[in-house]
Subunit: 217 residues, 4 copies
């Protein structure tokens, strides 16, 4: 057994080493200018070996996405645990999401890319399915927090938690995207808008969301 286990462990290690190398490459250029050659070189492995561990370039990209999702799920989980009331959890999740997008912009992009193209990923590899499953977890955490908030009275009871979870996730995603990609452009082109930092705007957004979720007095 020891041998089998060691082999499995080594295989897993190598797999991770490949993903490490692939990240370096994928994250240093545009997704589609990265080549398997580059990745193989970065991994100090032959190209053929890459295909021993991953069915395709796409599959390898999904493994990276998977990593990002795991990190995000972990951050969401921790955020939720720290807070008692539902509305606080929602707020903490929001902060965690923004924090994630700043600490791991490349993972954020990979995830966004996956979200926007998941239908087109034809692979039926384990990685693809894991991604699909993991992709739902953040949503579920949000939904659970909303339910908790309704129960503890910190969130209006007339919202639909499932739908609202989708709404919040979609909105957050879109907001982070626009801020990371276009805020500088807006600042340059419309100085009269007197735009502040992304943090400022995120804060403003939280205020609005909070107001829309709080129970009416």
């Amino acid at each position: 057994m020891g041998i089998t286990e060691r082999k499995a462990r080594e295989k897993e290690l190598r797999r991770n080493a490949i993903i490490d190398a692939a990240e370096k490459i994928f994250f240093s250029r545009e997704m589609d200018t990265a080549t398997m050659d580059d990745i193989a070189e970065a991994a100090e492995l032959s190209k053929g070996t890459l295909y021993l561990y991953f069915k395709s370039k796409e599959d390898l990209y999904l493994a990276i996405t998977r990593r990002g999702l795991d990190i995000l799920i972990d951050m969401f989980s921790k955020a939720v645990k720290k807070k008692k009331y539902g509305i606080q959890k929602i707020y903490a999740i929001g902060l965690a999401y923004y924090s994630f997008s700043r600490k791991h912009p490349d993972y954020f992009n990979a995830m966004t890319y996956f979200l926007a193209h998941s239908q087109e990923f034809n692979e039926n590899t384990p990685t693809a399915m894991e991604c699909a499953l993991a992709g739902d977890r953040p949503l579920i955490i949000v939904r659970d927090s909303l339910i908790k908030g309704i129960e503890d009275g910190t969130i209006r009871s007339d919202i639909n938690p499932s739908e609202t979870a989708i709404i919040l996730m979609g909105q957050s995603n879109g907001l982070i995207q626009i801020l990371s990609k276009n805020l500088e452009h807006f600042k340059n082109m419309h100085p009269q808008f007197n735009l502040k930092s992304a943090e400022n705007i995120i804060d403003h957004a939280f205020n609005l969301i909070h107001r829309s979720l709080e129970p009416s007095t």
Copy 2:
């Protein structure tokens, strides 16, 4: 003079015919699996001619994006004009945006793609600049409507119209994206969520947004 004018008109017509053909191709596959060969064939023109009218494949893609932006701007403008009060305008814009994404999903995708990658578009063609300019128009319309709403008392006065405009645009974009790409997946994977139609969720989102913008009583 008639001749010059006719020539110019014909040139514009052909340019549009090429964009038509390109749309057929771009919209029937992924952006980056579409080839200039395909487009030339669809346009019943030689590949060389394509490059007579567009500097590059990218430039041609931008021309399509430009069309989408023009349509969106038109829809926003009309939506705004129909309503009197600021909050109504905002609501109408939201509806228009969703309507646009349903009527012209491909244009919506092209625009989203442009938003997310505008930094990487290196071309300095007229089309690229027009796109950058046109891309700001919707945001400005939203901002103006917010200002109007603050003035006419239908929107809380403690929001920052510029920041809120960005927030609303980003959020709307993200929400539409997630709904169009992932709602079916959610429905299939989580029947217990009891998810309704996209329209339903959009409606729910409007409620939330409305609540966050209305003046506190």
Copy 3:
């Protein structure tokens, strides 16, 4: 008649204007990166018009070569006229050739290109034939000078003037080429060679040639 003549004159003028423009382009880049588009733009004429005056790009290039040849022939003629004795004429021609290569390096290159590829120029245009004819003139001038030298006793009588003319022309051409293209390289790579300026080397070559032509005492 006046009209016909004026037309012919104008046509010639335009032809020359085109050659002017073509020179600017050809001489500012490598021969084969120059495009007819560039030339047309430089000539402020349409591409079609170029083909009204020149059968092909090649033909246009030959017209430039022709100009260079005319200049060279003129310089050779003047050099020859200035001197009395054959050996002096030969020396003056040599100086003139080197001077030409420095004053008109682009023409020199064009001519060299023509010399090396004349067999491949398939065009049967007037320009091509004129080039072929003009290309022989320098050789004839050298040969005549050699004959003169033999007659006036300044050049050994046991040389064959025709063959020697070819030899001198070929050698001079080759020497100028190597000096203009590779002298710097040699200087850099072999500082121990202690190479002087091109002029110095040319001077050295003249000495050698002079010695090989002078009558034995």
Copy 4:
């Protein structure tokens, strides 16, 4: 280890096979009308494979030039070894050069092309550098022979061996060029010149050179 060596040997073989095929193509047309498609077909290999062995078309061309240089250097070396005295060595080198140009006219052209365009070759491939290095060898052999001749008294001591080596190489190159490209033309156009064979003219040239190098009596 046998395996590694065999692999290396096979790789070298294939590399050479590609150069063989490329020569067939390059030498049967002009350098710049040869296409990688043609070469791939001649090599019975895919185009992609060509680029596995050579960075670019230019690089492949340089590999051919390299071959020619190696042959020439070999011929020069042998010519020099056979003779005792410096002036004899120079003469033998001259004969070898002419012999090379007749036996390997295509290599001669390739080398001439390289000499005339070496500055424009931007590649920094090993092949390019090897070519640059190898290109200097013949010159050095000539120079060494001149020095030897000065030492052994068969060549005038008042010449500068480095400069004279350049002169002789440049002149020889130019003479061979003009003879191979234009002699027939001269014969046809000027029968009164009574031109003999290229060999005859080469012989004449040797006489002249010999006279210019021999010590004055």
